[in-house]
C-alpha cells in the first residue's frame, strides 16, 4: 500500500495558506536562499539527477529540457510557466496556485536563477480570476520581501515576474501556441525546429514548464535528490498530484509517488460511489486512451501506462461508473476538441468537425454501422498527420472507446438512440426528460 506524500499540498489546509507569512512559516523561501548560494549549473544537474519529468502531460525530463538552452550569448532568455490548465479532467494546478501560489513563485525564482533568466512569465488561463488575484498578490509580496526584483538576497541576481492572463483557448496549453499567445497573437502552434530552447519567446532561448514541475523544484533543492528519487519508479521518479473526479466518493487532489495504482487511490477516496462499479476511466485526461476495470492495478507511471496502451498525461483520473454512456462521453469530448481546434491544420480542423457530426448522429440514434468504421477511418487521417498533438488527442478517446466498447456504439445504431438513463449518472436526483439538443459554440 502506497502512502500519500503531501509535499506541494502540505500547506493547503493552513490558515491563509496563500499568504507569504504562512508559506515562510512552513519553511518557504529557505530553498531559494540555498539555491542562490549554489552554482546554477549544479541546480540544473540536481534537477536532472532527480529524474523530475514535466508534469504538464508530456513527461519530458525537466533537467534535460533546461540543458537544451544554448550557451549565454549576452541576450535575454526566458522562463515561461504554463499555467493554462485546460485539459478535461485536469484540476491540479489551479488549487496549487489558489492555495499555495508561493510554491510556484519560489520555484520560478530558483529555476530562473538556474537557467539564467531575468524575466519570467506565468501564463495563467483567464477563466480563473481568483487564482489570478492570488498570483498577482503573491508576486507583489515576493517583491516586497526581496525574493524577487533586483539583487535578490544580495546574490546579484535580478528577476522580474509577469503574471499574464490568457483569454480562453485550450490550445494555448501547447507550448509553442502559448508562446505565440504570450506574444500577443492567435494561439497557433509553431513549427519545431526551432525548438523553444533555441528560439522561443521573442525568438530567444526559452524554457516552458508546467506549474507542478516548477513548483516541485524548491523541494528538490531543499530535501535533495535522494529524497525525490526515493519516491516513484525507476524511470518515473518523485511524487505527483493525482486528481480524482467523477463517480468516486471523495473526489479531490491526492499527492502520491508515481507508480501508485488506481485501486489504491480509489481505496483512499472511498471507492466508486455507493452501489456502483467502475466502467471506464482516463489515466491522464481526455487526450489519453481510456482504461477499464482491467487496468485497476496498472502502476500509474509513464512506462507502465504507456505499455498498457495509454499515457500518464496529467494524472487526471476521470472515473465513470456503469451508469455512464461511453458514446455520450466521447461525443462531448470530441465537441470539445472541435471547439478548441485552432484551425491551422487541415486534419484537426476538418477532422474534428466531421467526427463531431458523425458522433452526434450516432449518439442521437441516427447513425449507421458504416459510421462507426468512418469514425476510425477519419481518426486515421488525423492521428499522426496533424500539426500538433491536439489532433492526436481528439482521436484517443474515439479509437480506444470503439475498441473497448464497440457494442455500445452498435447499440445506439441498432436501437436508434441512447440506451442509457442520463439521470442515473448525475450526482443529484432528477427525472429524465428529453434533453433538447443545443448547438454548441
Amino acid at each position: 500500500m502506497t502512502d500519500l506524500v503531501p509535499v506541494l499540498s502540505a500547506t493547503w489546509g493552513a490558515e491563509k495558506s496563500w499568504s507569504l507569512d504562512t508559506y515562510t512559516e512552513a519553511g518557504g523561501y529557505a530553498p531559494l536562499k540555498k539555491a542562490l548560494g549554489m552554482e546554477p549549473g549544479d541546480i540544473i544537474q540536481a534537477v536532472k539527477d532527480s529524474g523530475l519529468r514535466g508534469r504538464g502531460g508530456a513527461g519530458f525530463p525537466t533537467g534535460m529540457k533546461w540543458g537544451f538552452l544554448p550557451p549565454d550569448d549576452g541576450g535575454p532568455r526566458y522562463l515561461v510557466v504554463n499555467a493554462d490548465e485546460s485539459e478535461p479532467g485536469t484540476c491540479k494546478d489551479i488549487p496549487t496556485m489558489m492555495s499555495a501560489p508561493h510554491q510556484l513563485i519560489e520555484g520560478v525564482a530558483i529555476t530562473s536563477f538556474a537557467i539564467g533568466c531575468n524575466h519570467a512569465f506565468i501564463y495563467l488561463r483567464g477563466e480563473v480570476v481568483h487564482v489570478y488575484r492570488r498570483l498577482l498578490q503573491a508576486v507583489r509580496e515576493a517583491y516586497e520581501a526581496g525574493h524577487l526584483g533586483k539583487d535578490i538576497h544580495g546574490s546579484g541576481f535580478d528577476l522580474d515576474v509577469t503574471v499574464h492572463a490568457g483569454a480562453g483557448a485550450y490550445i494555448c496549453g501547447e507550448e509553442t501556441a502559448l508562446l505565440d499567445s504570450l506574444e500577443g497573437r492567435r494561439g497557433q502552434p509553431r513549427l519545431k525546429p526551432p525548438f523553444p530552447a533555441v528560439a522561443g519567446l521573442y525568438a530567444r532561448p526559452t524554457v516552458v514548464n508546467n506549474v507542478e514541475s516548477v513548483a516541485s523544484v524548491p523541494a528538490i533543492v531543499d530535501r535533495g535528490v535522494e529524497w525525490f528519487t526515493a519516491m516513484g519508479t525507476e524511470r518515473s521518479k518523485g511524487m505527483g498530484l493525482f486528481s480524482l473526479s467523477g463517480h468516486v466518493t471523495r473526489p479531490g487532489q491526492y499527492e502520491a509517488p508515481l507508480g501508485i495504482t488506481l485501486r489504491e487511490l480509489l481505496e483512499m477516496a472511498g471507492g466508486i460511489r455507493e452501489g456502483h462499479e467502475l466502467k471506464f476511466w482516463t489515466p491522464g485526461g481526455s487526450s489519453t486512451p481510456i482504461f477499464t476495470q482491467d487496468h485497476l492495478d496498472t502502476p500509474l507511471d509513464y512506462e507502465s501506462v504507456g505499455a498498457a496502451g495509454s499515457m500518464l498525461g496529467t494524472r487526471a483520473l476521470q472515473i465513470f461508473d456503469e451508469t455512464t454512456c461511453v458514446v455520450r462521453a466521447v461525443t462531448r469530448w470530441t465537441e470539445f476538441y472541435k471547439h478548441e481546434s485552432c484551425g491551422k491544420c487541415t486534419p484537426c480542423r476538418e477532422g474534428t468537425y466531421w467526427l463531431t457530426q458523425i458522433l452526434k448522429r450516432v449518439e442521437g440514434g441516427r447513425g449507421t454501422e458504416a459510421d462507426i468504421q468512418q469514425l476510425l477511418d477519419t481518426c486515421d487521417s488525423i492521428a499522426g498527420r496533424s500539426f500538433c498533438a491536439l489532433g492526436d488527442g481528439a482521436t484517443s478517446s474515439i479509437i480506444s472507446s470503439v475498441k473497448l466498447f464497440r457494442e455500445e456504439y452498435e447499440a445506439h445504431v441498432e436501437q436508434g438512440g441512447c440506451p442509457f438513463d442520463h439521470s442515473a449518472a448525475a450526482l443529484f436526483d432528477y427525472s429524465e426528460t428529453p434533453a433538447t439538443e443545443e448547438a454548441h459554440a
Binding site: 483557448a169 492567435r186 497557433q188 513549427l191 472541435k338 471547439h339 478548441e340 481546434s341 485552432c342 484551425g343 491551422k344 491544420c345 487541415t346 486534419p347 480542423r349 476538418e350 477532422g351 474534428t352 468537425y353 466531421w354 457530426q357 458523425i358 448522429r361 468512418q374 477511418d377 477519419t378 486515421d380 487521417s381 488525423i382 499522426g384 498527420r385 496533424s386 500539426f387
Partner: protein, 829 residues
Amino acid sequence: MTATADKAATEAVETVTLTIDGTEVTVPKGTLIIRAAEQVGIEIPRFCDHPALKPAGACRQCLVDVASPAGPEGKLRAFPKPQASCTMTVTEGMVVNTQHTSEEADRAQKGVMELLLVNHPLDCPVCDKGGECPLQNQAMSHGRPESRFVDVKRVFEKPLPLSSEILLDRERCVLCQRCTRFSKEIAGDAFIDLQNRGAQQQIGTFDEDVLDFDGYRPVGAAAVDEAGKAFSSYYSGNTVQICPVGALTSAAYRFRSRPFDLVSSPSIAEHDSSCAAIRIDHRRGQVLRRLADNDPVVNEDWITDKDRFAFAWQNLSDRLTRPLVRKDGALVETSWPEALAAAAAGIKAATAADEDGAALGAAVLTGGRVTLEDAYAYQKLARVVLGTNDVDSRARSASDEEQAFLGTQVAGTGLGVTFGELEKAPVVVLVGFEAEDEGGVVFLRLRKSLGRQQVVSVAPYLSRGSEKLGATLVPAVPGREATALAELPEDVREALAQPGAVIVLGERAAEAAGTFVAANELAASTGARLAWIPRRAGERGAVEAGALPGLLPGGRSAASKGARESVAQAWGVPSLPSAKGRSTDAIIEAAAEGGIGALIVGGVSASDLTGDVATAFERTPFVVSLEVRRSEIAESADVVLPVAPPSEKSGTFVNWEGRLRSFATAIRTDAMSDHRVLDLLAREWGVALGTGTVEAVNAEIAALGAAADAERPAAPKARAAGKARTKKGTAVLATWHQLVDEGALQEGEPYLAGTGRVAVARMSQATADAIGAAASVAVSTESGTIELPVVVTDMVDGVVWVPAKSPGSWVARELRATAGAVVTVKGAA
C-alpha cells in the same frame, strides 16, 4: 536551385545528397524536401507551400515518409509518422518516400485531401479557378473518387468584398494562409488576417458585421482608414494569383472566362520603369486578365495591382483604329494614304518660310510611355525630317541638369545597379523617390531586405511605404533635396561608404536644382553607386534613343559637333540640326505664344503638363497626334494617326536597371507601332527613316552603340536651390503620384480605382495651426485651387503635400505648379 555561373565560382555551396523515391538527388544544404523533389521531377501535392513564402506546414497535404540516418552508426531510422515535406530540410543520406513509393504517404495524402473537401463547396461550375485550380488538379491525382462525408458543410455568406477589386468566397478557402503570409511577409500590409477559430476560422479584414461585433455605429476608422479601403494594399492582386483555390478572385475578371478559352502571351507591363514580366491572357482578340510572370531577376513572382489590372485603357470606347483628318472643322475618318499626305502637307506648310524668310519650326513630344523603338523613330524624325532638336519624351518636370546627368551617367551605360544589387545593398538612400508609390516592385525587393538593410528617405515626411521599409527620414523641403544631401548626417555618409551602397534618384530629383550635382559629389566621396529610377516605362528607353532635346542616341550630346557628325554619317544624312533643343515645358510655352509651327505628339496626357496646354495647341497652326485613344490632344489635332497599344505590338522597354525588356505581339490586329507610322510619314518627305520594323530599329541602335566620353554632354552643373520664400498663408508644395490614381493608363478600370488611397492634404501640426486649418484645406495658385481633407502628419513645417493626380487633386492641371513651388494655403470648412 542552381546558382548562376559567376556566383558558383565565388560561393562554395554546401550540398546534401539524399534519395527520393529511389532517385538520388544532390541539392544545396537547407533545401526543403519538397523543393528537392521538384528537382527530380517529383511533384508532391501541396497548398500552403510556396517557394517565395516562409514554410507554414499548415495544410498537411505534402506528407511523405522520411527516414534519416541516426545514431553513431548512422543507421537509417524511420520517422514514426509522416512528415510535412514543405517544412523539413534535407539531411545527408535521408531517404524520402512520397506517395509514389509509400503506401503510408499515399494514404496520409488521400486522407488530408478528403478532409479538405469536407467543407469545400461544390462551386466548381461557378468558380473562376475551375480549370486552373490546384485543388481540383490535386484532388484528381491524389484524392479519393468519392467523398464519404454525408453531413452538413459549414457555410458563409459570399462573396465578401475585401476591397473593390478583391472578392473573398470564404467557403472555398482552404486556410493555406498564402494570402495572409504574402500580405504580411512580402508586402507588409497586414490588412487581412485569420479570424475566428477552428472550423469557423476564416480570412478577413476587421469587419464588424462579418465578425458579428456589435458596433454602436458604422466605425469608419476601423473599416476604412485614411490610407484607403479595407484591404488596402498595392499588391493585393498577387493574393488572387497565389490562392490555390477560388477563394480570392478579382472583381474585374470574376465570371468572365474559363482558363482553357484563354491564350497566354508573355509580355512586359507598361506602367512603371521596373517593366515587370507579365502574362497577358486573351480570348478572341480581347485581353481578359493579366498575371505576374515569374522573373527571378526583376519582379520575382509579383507585380503591382496597376500592372495587373490597368489594361482597359488599351481598348476603351474611344479607341482609335482609323486615321482622322480635320475637314471643315471636324475630324473625319480617312484612309492611311490620305492622312499621311495631309499630315506631311500640313507640317510642310506650317513650317515653310514666309515672305521674309522667317519660318516657324516643328517640335516633337513623344511622352514617356513609348517603347525604345518608338522613341528612336520620333527623335530621328525630328532631326532628319523636321530638322529640329525640339524633341522631348519628358512629360513631367525636367531640367538641363537632369539631362546632363542622363547623358553622362545613364545613357549607353548598359546594366547599372540591378534589382539584386538593390536587394543586397547594405544601405539605400532614396532621393525624390517613393518606393511604393513610384517604384512598384522596387518596393517589394527592398522590403525583402527588411532588418538587414538601412533605408534612408530624403523626403518631406516618412510615407507609409517608407515606414514599411523601416526607413529613417532625412527631412527635406521639396526643392531643397540638394542641400539635404550635402548636409546628410554623418552616420548616413559613413554607411554609404560600405561596398554595395546605393543612392536612388527618382525623376523628382529634376524638380530640385543641384540634386544631381550633390548626388554625384556624394557618390564620388563615398563610393556609393547611383541608380536613376523614373516613373514611366518608356523613360529610360527614350534616354537611350536620344529622345531628349540635348541628347542623341547612346548618350551623345546634340551640342557636340563630333557626335552630330558621326550620327549623321550613320544615318546617311549630310548633317544634324545644331540649334539647341527645347524641353517639353519650353515647347509648350513657345507654342502658347504662337512660336511653334507644327507639333507632332505621341502618348502625352494634356493633364500631366503644367503649361497652358489649351492655348498651345490652339495657337499652333498644325498638330499631328499619334494616339491609341481619342484623347484631349487628339481631339484638338489636325491629323490623328492611330497607333497600337502595347498588347497589339512588339517592342522593347528598357527598365531602370538598363535591362532590355522585349515583348512580342500578344493580339494580332492591323494596328501599327509609332515607329512604323513615323516611317510611313517620313516617306512623304522622300526620307527612308529605317524605322519600319523593330528589328531594323534595333539594328541601327546596335550599330550606333554607346557614345564615347568625348561625345557626351558636359557633367551636370547647377546650384542648389535656396530656401523658398514663404510668408503667412503660404507653404511649399510637395506632391507625387500615388501608385493607384487617375493616371491615363488606369482609366476604364473602376474596380482598381476603388482601391486607390483617399486623397488628403498633409501638413505638420504647426503648419496646420499657423493657417488655422481644421478639417480641410484649400491649396491654390493663380491658376486654380485644390481642396482636400487635412491629415496632420509628422513632417517638415511650411510644406503641404497633396497627391499629384488623385480624385479632386490634379496638381498639374489645377495648380499648374510642381513640387517646390510656393502655394497659398487656407483652412476651409
